[in-house]
Every structure is written in structure tokens, then in C-alpha cells.
Symmetry: C2
Subunit: 121 residues, 2 copies
DNA sequence: CGGGATCCATCGAGATACTG
DNA sequence: CAGTATCTCGATGGATCCCG
């Protein structure tokens, strides 16, 4: 790629990638069937595994476990083992997880309006 | 965060659905492998089908056609047939499509920061 | 209770060839 | 040029059973 490249009316593949990648990251993080329901449940209160399984209607333990790991690896959710008997585990939103809410709110606002617009047609 | 949250500590399934649905709508609209690359290409300038096929590296005509129909059905993209010979078709972002940019920017901002955060670990 | 392991169905997307 | 039609495959997620 030329160092002397001036501003063009079209984008280079590199520019596009840098532009798109972080947006895609967000989609990957909150996308899929269960991430939003889980985050929403946790935004109301801390839940144990079994409680989440009941709150998030329809989810299987297998998926719940996998999704919680994903969310935890992204720093959105905190996992806390309580050594009661039997052992219980508490899941909660981290502060960082809560910071996602601004983004979700922006999406929600546009989405609510869009739904209205599409319905009217 | 949410209006609901200030009112109750837990959510009903109905409330959750209404809360989540518009966000999911946005994910569906810009999600998948090709929507963002296509929207990004069109955000720079109007393109014909074949031009888009070249701009969006790797896409097949089958997918490009399908994705453009999706975007058009959501009012984000305008399709304009030019009766030249042979016929050419121009695709462009609608004003409504451009309104999505605020949302994408919010996502991008969070995503850029997140990528930095994850990389540092 | 909090998961893991295994098998299976569905769907998004690629490859390729073809048409008006 | 602007798409369509088939076929195929890998990923996502569901069903079921199992364990410490």
C-alpha cells in the first residue's frame, strides 16, 4: 500500500477491516440465541446457575454453561463459587459488563423505532 | 440502565422479551458475515452489483444478492435499475440506512476499547 | 447443585454452473 | 451485467445421559 495514498472516495480493504472489526466483535459478544437473555437476567440481579436456567426460559444447562464461559472470558460476567454444601455458584454482571448497556441502549432505541417503521408498512 | 430495573428487581418474561427484541432486531439486520462489509462499501459511494462484488472481497453473487435483498427490505439500501444496455443496477445507502451509523459508531467505540482491553491481558 | 460428554438436526454460507 | 439454481459442508444449538 502506498504511503502517499491520498484520501479516496472508496476504502481500502485494510481500512474497512479496521472499521468493521470492532463492530463485529460486539455482535459476536452479544449475538447468538442466549447472550442477551442471560445478560438481561443478570442486569436485574445476581443469579445462581439453576436460577439462571429457570429465568432464561428454554435454555439447556449445556448452553448456559457455554454462554457463561464466553461472557466471563470477555469480562462481562463474574463467577463466584460459594463453598456451601452442596457448592453453589453465583453469577453477576461486572462493572465492565454494565458498560455495555450504553451500547445496547443505542441499539434498542434504533430497533424500537425500526420495528415501528416496519410494522406500519 | 433500564427503566424497568428501577421499578422492579426482577423481570417478567414479557418484559424481557420487549427489552431484548429490538436489540436482537439490530443484530439480525447488521449481523452475519456480509452485511457490515456491504454497508461499509455503500457508505463510501453508490455501487453497481459487480462493483460491490469486487469491493466486498470473497463474497459470491448468490450471497451478495441475498444480503442486498435483506438490506433493501429493511429500508437501508436503495436499488435503482438503469435501463442502459445491458441493464445496470445501482445500490446506494438510504438516509435511513445512514441513521444506523450512530448505532454502529457506539458499537465500534466500545469494541475498539474492548479489543484493547482483551489484547492487554 | 453445577455442570460435562455425546450424538444429532437445522441453518448459514461456499462452490459451481447456469440464465435473461 | 445482474443475478438464480443446486449441491455441499461446517458451525450453532438441541436432546439426552452422566458425574462429583
Amino acid at each position: 500500500m502506498s504511503i502517499l495514498k491520498t484520501k479516496t472516495e472508496h476504502s481500502t480493504p485494510e481500512e474497512c477491516k479496521i472499521f468493521i472489526r470492532p463492530v463485529r466483535d460486539v455482535i459476536d459478544i452479544v449475538g447468538g440465541k442466549w447472550k442477551l437473555p442471560i445478560l438481561t437476567a443478570l442486569s436485574f440481579k445476581t443469579h445462581r446457575f439453576k436460577e439462571l436456567e429457570r429465568q432464561v426460559a428454554g435454555i439447556t444447562p449445556r448452553m448456559l454453561s457455554k454462554e457463561l464461559k464466553d461472557l466471563e472470558s470477555n469480562g462481562l460476567v463474574n463467577r463466584k463459587t460459594l463453598y456451601t454444601s452442596p457448592v453453589t455458584v453465583e453469577y453477576s454482571l461486572t462493572c465492565y459488563g454494565k458498560s455495555l448497556d450504553e451500547v445496547l441502549s443505542a441499539m434498542r432505541e434504533w430497533g424500537v423505532n425500526h420495528r415501528k417503521k416496519i410494522m406500519d408498512k
